[in-house]
Amino acid sequence: MSASSTTPLSKGTAGGTTRRRRRGPRTWLAALPLLAFTGLCFGIPLGAIAFGAVTRTDPVSGATRLTGEHLARSLQGPYLGSLVGSVQLSALTALVGGVLGVLVAQAVVTSRSQALRGATLTASGVLANFGGVPLAFAFIATVGISGVVTQLADLTGLGWNLYSFTGLTVVYLYFLTPLMVLVIVPALDGLRPQWREAAQNNGAGGWQFWRYVGLPVLAPSLLGGFVLLFGTAFAAHATAAALVGGSVPLVTLKIADALSGNVLTGQENVALALGLDMIVIAGLVMAVYLPLQRRSARWLR
């Protein structure tokens, strides 16, 4: 707890020493490269997206004027449907993937087997980055309509269909669950055995420990994991494009159709408006997460 001066989040609380944070102009100077980088790599594209989303350039005269029609269109009909579809899919996969990931991580942490732990973490690191068209094709070859497992186990007869909302959920879980394992294992490691012992000394059972100590301490990490999973699923594009094409409406697919297709012309600004919608949704999710994270980050230092 002696390092409280370096963690600005823990001002005047648990440590007891209400030390003033020494924050002169020099610390700001050190952050300057980061701020410049952020401004350049996030600010400029964001500005371009926002500008394109609210303006229209006449192709012939070249005149640019303000308009709300792109944003309005992005919130109607099939475009709205795709936003809703994306949020549904992301929330569901993040929830299921989060729960599965925590269970796996808890099993690994409590097993105390270094070999198992190493193997699980390595596999998670690989699988969490296995996405895009290769993943889609791996699934097609395994459990697609003429996939090996589908034919061996007659999955089609059991009602299995890879090219549906359910199928897409399963594919997403394949890389979201390992991602959750990766982010939650450090947090589980941070749960000190002393806390459990203290709880037991006071007569708490396993459930009571989790209900009143474990989960509240873990809550921000869990929520952080959920947010990360949500964002990953929300932004995923290539896997879905290769698997379901247009039959599960997703906003990233809609943006791709509008920006880089051979059929629809003059949809670029609607695509930018959809991008802006996505940023707003991501912002809302972050707005829930950040204050909570701040509340209990101090326990896990």
Binding site: P59, G81, G144, S247, P249, G261, N262, T265
Partner: protein, 388 residues
């Protein structure tokens, strides 16, 4: 609001500067260097509207060789024989280096490259576009008018009256079918609805994005009492196929075809014919049928970037494509070149290649601009709902 006139002014200055430098080194030797203005002097390669402006083909070749480079974009080597076409051009004009970028780019990417790299030497010189983008690009004044030598032989319905774009090659919507897996291959759209094809029918992409999938929906509309102005019956048709479980939304690619995941694939006949050749002897017996009830043909178009960094080379490329050699090379890739009818008459056509094309009755007709726009709007609005 941006000061649009200032932007336009800058663009004009830039292109004038480019034209100036190009004409200084790019004019054919037998021509006067000409005044270095961009205001439509016929002696500038960028303003040439026919080969006569170069004093004949030799003049054009000389001017193009001086430029030394041709920037192309979105030409996949395995699509309509573009690999061989580029090699043949390179062999014929060894002094002109073809600089190819992003072979898998879409029409929208091509237009974006033209706009965003205006005035740069790495801007694309020539474009191979879907018809909708050829029309909208001409409307935005992005293309240079140029009449190739064979201009008069291109049917009026397949070219822009101002010569800013013209159709190059195309084909018919066809049904490819793996006869090794499917006992009776479907011959029409009506056949596709049969229960025996459950979980077997695919398109080559999402029709709001892929031109061939769009053609597939259009053809299905024609097969189901629709018209060029009314694509809805086609959307309904695929909605029914999805409900019955016949339609699978996976995009057919050479990989899914070879693996057998898309045993029936609706795609351009030249791509399906290409698969037949590609997978012969690999356990895939790919048969191609142009459906009898929904005949729909579509051609891609060529256009020259108005601000092409290599204006002479781009015009030479066009002359090559629309010459006998270029047209026959497309034909070799199972695509139907736009001059096929004329060449069949005058006997310059590659007869072997013609016999390999799927058989068609009658001549193709094409939707008008307004009909196409209406169909696209309907599709963008209704496709998701019909399929989900």
């Amino acid at each position: 609001m941006l000061s649009s006139s200032a932007r336009r002014g800058a663009a004009v200055l830039l292109s004038a500067a480019v034209l100036t430098t190009l004409s200084a080194c790019g004019a054919a030797p037998d021509q006067p260097a000409g005044s270095a203005t961009a205001d439509g002097k016929k002696t500038q390669p960028g303003a040439a509207t026919s080969v006569a402006d170069f004093g004949g083909l030799e003049g054009l070749v000389a001017a193009a060789e001086k430029e030394g480079t041709l920037n192309v974009i979105a030409l996949p080597a395995d699509w309509a024989n573009y690999g061989e076409i580029q090699k043949a051009f390179q062999a014929k004009y060894p002094k002109i280096k073809i600089s190819a970028e992003n072979p898998d780019a879409s029409s929208a990417d091509e237009i974006a490259a033209v706009k965003s790299r205006k005035g740069q030497t790495r801007a694309p010189d020539v474009l191979d576009l879907g018809i909708a983008f050829a029309r909208s690009g001409a409307g935005e004044n992005l293309f240079a008018p140029y009449k190739v030598t064979a201009w008069d032989k291109i049917p009026a319905a397949q070219k822009d009256a101002d010569a800013r774009w013209y159709n190059d090659y195309g084909g018919y919507v066809s049904i490819g079918c793996d006869a090794a897996r499917i006992p009776n291959c479907p011959q029409s759209f009506a056949d596709l609805a049969k229960p025996e094809y459950k979980g077997k029918v695919a398109l080559n992409g999402n029709p709001t994005k892929s031109g061939s999938a769009f053609g597939g929906v259009y053809a299905a509309a024609l097969a189901n009492k629709g018209s060029f102005g009314d694509i809805q019956p086609g959307i309904d048709f695929f909605g029914r196929l999805k409900k019955s479980g016949n339609f699978i939304p996976v995009e057919s690619t050479p990989a899914t075809v070879e693996k057998g995941e898309t045993p029936i694939s609706i795609d351009w006949d030249y791509l399906n014919a290409g698969y037949a050749e590609q997978f012969k002897g690999k356990g895939v017996d790919w048969k191609v049928a142009v459906p009898t009830d929904g005949v729909y043909a579509q051609y891609y178009s060529q256009a020259i970037n108005k601000d092409a960094p290599h204006p002479a080379a781009s015009r030479l490329w066009m002359e090559f494509l629309y010459g006998t050699e270029g047209q026959n090379l497309w034909l070799k890739g199972h695509a139907r070149p736009v001059l096929l009818p004329v060449m069949t008459q005058d006997g310059t056509v590659d007869k072997d290649a013609v016999t390999k094309l799927p058989q068609i009755q009658g001549t193709p007709t094409f939707p008008a601009s307004t009909e196409l726009d209406k169909a696209k709007a309907t599709l963008a609005e209704k496709w998701d709902k019909a399929l989900s």
